[in-house]
Amino acid sequence: MEWNWQFALQILPDLARALLTVEITVVASALAICGVSPCFSCAYRHTGRFRRLPIVLSRRSGISLSPLTTGIIGIAVYNSAYLSEAYRGAVLSVNKVQIEAAVACNLGRYATWRYVIIPQALPPLIPVLGNYVIAMLKETPILSAITVLELY
């Protein structure tokens, strides 16, 4: 089969219409990074349950939502289970002495997290978050299984 430039240019506007992929990635990433992953980090017991689930099944929630919403929630929840482990690892990488020092300085629980733990846990987390955002972008074609007409 030979490459046909005329056909490629002809279908380009149709493909450009399906830039839903970017939208799905942005919303799912925001949801996963800011919302669901910290919740999963707190509810460690449920992390394994979602990590064992095949990615296609995570889209079949059984709740009546639009395919797009279901897909975004599915991608966000599925990746959050993995992201929460990255969050946990980053928090565990903070030296325990730092937390003891914060307690010794009479910092409260919130202040310890805000000024001691999170500023030290965030830098090693950034490359991992970038990886997950790109992974979410590449996972969006699976949404075609639930009739979301995205790019691939």
Partner: protein
């Protein structure tokens, strides 16, 4: 199914739609990678020289 698959099945031409989609995913992942690198440079750990 996805837009590219619909176009490919409709026209019986698979090379162009899927190649363009591959190019799009490459183009979309490069800014994400650059953004991640910039964030890492600004807020991340200093790299080992």
């Amino acid at each position: 199914m996805g837009e590219a698959r619909v176009i490919a099945n409709y026209n019986y031409r698979y090379l162009e739609p899927f190649t363009l989609v591959g190019g799009f995913f490459l183009l979309a992942s490069i800014p994400a990678m650059i953004g991640s690198r910039l964030l890492e440079r600004k807020f991340g750990q200093p790299s080992v020289q």
